[in-house]
């Protein structure tokens, strides 16, 4: 066990190291002149030379890499010149909105996937199963940003039953006092039901849009797992002991079918991370994704660089945790 954890941690660290070199190549070495990117096209040659020296760009490559990564690890993620504040401040301000949206998107994806996978496998009706498979294919093929525009046109412009792209709350609603910075949780903690409903109301469309791809992915995986597990010998044994079909399915097949979905956690995180850049822009959601896409348009690449490195860190860390958890939960993988 210790040895296994050591190997996993080492390979995770190797992946982070490799990823940071890759990011360093594309974000620091290749883009022409970082000093000019910061000072803008009107800066004098002298100013640029001075900037190059202060940024340490005259040092050898390996020293630049160490400076860059050292700064990043100490929380120095650069300065966003379009906002006039450090990237860290900006990211900290924007993080709660993204976390809240991703949380509800994941909840939607997970619940919808479980319900539909169970429906399509418990009673093998061809129509239901076909519909679920079709939904999965469409969900995986759907450009999320376009789906967001589509549901906005439908439910906001045409039917007028859900709020438009105005962020996390109606302009007339005040944000609840910050405890967790998640509006739905904070509103409930303070007993402000109107605010809670308003926050939920504003979450519905963005959460479904962001959750669509993870939903499609999960429903496919769960459906396949459920079909596999229900053919296993132990299900036959359970049934032959006289346990009803429903109980055998709910108590014995379902938990086993959930296990492999744990390995998909990293992939779902990746979908949520890259999806947030696309979806938040559509809904004017004041999160990190919108910050990144706005920064791209303003060519304020310090923010984009921080986002890219952070995503890699989160992605690798989640994958390591999943590997270790899986090892603990499912004894079968320890053998192979």
């Amino acid at each position: 066990m210790i040895r296994f954890m050591g190997v996993k941690l080492a390979s995770g660290l190797a992946a982070i190291f490799g990823a940071s070199i890759l990011a360093f190549i594309f974000l620091r070495i290749v883009p022409g002149n970082p000093a000019r990117l910061i000072l803008g096209p009107l800066a004098t040659q002298q100013a640029i030379d001075a900037q190059i020296t202060t940024m340490g760009l005259r040092e050898p490559i390996y020293a630049q890499y160490l400076n860059y990564m050292g700064g990043f690890l100490r929380g120095n993620w650069g300065f966003s010149y379009s906002a006039g504040q450090p990237v860290t401040t900006q990211v900290a301000n924007r993080l709660p909105a993204t976390v809240e949206l991703a949380l509800y998107a994941f909840l939607f994806a997970f619940i919808a996937a479980v319900v539909l996978a169970v429906l399509s496998t418990y009673r093998r009706r061809a129509i239901i199963d076909g519909t679920v498979r079709g939904l999965a294919i469409i969900g995986l093929s759907m450009p999320p940003f376009w789906f967001g525009i589509l549901v906005l046109m439908l439910f906001f412009s045409y039917f007028g039953i859900l709020p438009g792209p105005e962020g996390r709350l109606s302009p007339t609603t005040a944000a609840p006092d910050a405890v967790t910075h998640l509006y739905t949780v904070d509103a409930l903690l303070h007993g402000q039901f109107a605010t809670f409903l308003d926050a939920v109301w504003h979450l519905i469309l963005p959460a479904i849009t962001l959750g669509l791809a993870p939903f499609a992915f999960l429903v496919r995986l769960l459906r396949a797992n459920l079909l596999d597990v229900s053919h296993e010998a132990f299900i036959v044994v359970v049934r032959s002991k006289g346990i009803g079909r429903l109980w055998a399915f709910a108590r014995h097949a379902l938990p086993n079918a959930f296990l492999p979905t744990l390995t998909a956690a990293g992939l779902i995180l990746a979908q949520l991370l890259s999806g947030s850049v696309l979806v938040e822009k559509v809904f004017n959601w004041p999160g990190i994704g919108a910050l990144v896409s706005d920064s791209i348009v303003r060519q304020d690449y310090a923010v984009v660089q921080a986002f890219i490195l952070l995503s890699a860190f989160c992605f690798v860390v989640v994958n390591i945790i999943v590997d270790l958890l899986y090892h603990v939960i499912d004894p079968r993988v320890r053998v192979s």
Binding site: S11, A14, A15, I16, F17, G18, A19, I21, L22, A23, I25, F26, L27, V30, P31, I137, I138, L140, S141, M142, P143, F145, W146, F147, I149, L150, L152, M153, F156, S157, G164, P165, L269, A270, Q271, L273, S274, V277, L278, K281, V282, V292, S293, I296, V297, Y301, V304, Q305, F307, I308, S311, A312, F315, V316
Partner: protein, 304 residues
């Protein structure tokens, strides 16, 4: 050719009882079509894909309006006979732009599929067959790429190399290489243990010859299925990069940038600007994922 070998073989085994049967190209095509008749998912995927290829190839020849001509007098017009998909904010004909967008998407998708298959295939086969330190080195490189969410790495590449369709394609290729490399490597390791490879080596075949003539043919079906999924991934990513402003730049009629352009008009009643390019994307990716799905079922019966 080898790609369709397995269903064909199955079909000829089925008809073995009816005596010898002539195997001409026409009967082969006929049998292929007969097979498609019983596989509506694959058939609809292929038909959709063919339709989009026809639109991309012949569209600009049939609908000769310019995708770039600005006509402010007829801006933001809804779909009509003169402009079947309407016009955008500066009066450009959106059907002409849709056709060009189909060309850009499909061509980029095809280039990404081929280049990443060549690079990823070469990495996967050499790493798997030769093993040793080369395998370790190559796989650590692949791990570094896989440490990023794919679209995020593609963003990093376009930020580094500069925005545009070409740099986006390079970024997408970089993220697609691991898909091939990982899969082919594990296939090659499995194949390497087969007696046929050992026998060939005993006969004195060189390593290059074994890899190219004896291992590669076994990988064709895996490669084709993977190519279909990568194709869908590539056009979706290109559109996503275009949507956030890292892909095609302003006058280029790329589907993703067309959707960005339509975003600000979508809620003021001009629904057609964003609708059609998204529909094109959805159809193209759905078609390829249907083909990839069925391909997996057909070539790999274990996955059913």
């Amino acid at each position: 050719m080898a790609s369709s070998a397995e269903p064909r073989q199955a079909a000829s085994q089925r008809s073995a009882g009816n005596g010898p049967r002539r195997d001409t190209p026409i009967t082969r095509i006929g049998r292929g079509l007969a097979y498609l008749w019983h596989d509506p998912v694959l058939a609809s995927g292929l038909a959709l894909g063919a339709l989009l290829v026809v639109v991309a190839a012949l569209g600009p020849l049939v609908w000769t309006a310019s995708p770039f001509a600005i006509d402010v007098g007829s801006s933001l017009q809804p779909p009509s006979l003169t402009h079947p998909m309407g016009t955008d904010s500066v009066g450009r004909d959106l059907l002409a732009r849709f056709d060009q967008g189909a060309r850009i998407s499909l061509a980029t998708g095809a280039i990404v599929v081929v280049v990443s298959a060549l690079i990823g295939g070469a990495i996967g086969i050499t790493a798997g067959y030769l093993g040793g330190w080369l395998d370790i080195l190559l796989m650590r490189m692949i791990d570094a790429i896989l440490a990023f969410p794919p679209l995020v790495l593609a963003m990093a590449v376009t930020v580094g190399l500069g925005v545009g369709v070409t740099t986006s394609a390079i970024g997408i290729i970089l993220t697609a290489v691991p898909f091939y490399a990982r899969l082919l490597r594990s296939d090659v390791i499995r194949l390497k243990a087969l007696p046929l490879i050992e026998a060939t080596a005993a006969l004195g075949a060189t390593r290059t010859r074994i890899m190219l003539r004896h291992i590669l043919p076994h990988l064709v079906s895996t490669l084709l299925i993977q190519a279909a999924s990568v194709f869908g991934y590539a056009i979706l990513s290109l559109a996503a990069l275009g949507f956030v402003g890292l892909g095609a730049q302003v006058p280029t009629p790329e589907w993703g940038t067309m959707i960005t352009n339509g975003l600000q008009y979508a809620l003021t009643g001009q629904w057609w600007i964003a609708l059609f390019p998204g529909l094109g994307l959805l159809l193209a990716v759905t078609a390829t994922s249907q083909i990839a799905d069925r391909g997996r079922d057909i070539f790999d019966p274990r996955s059913r």
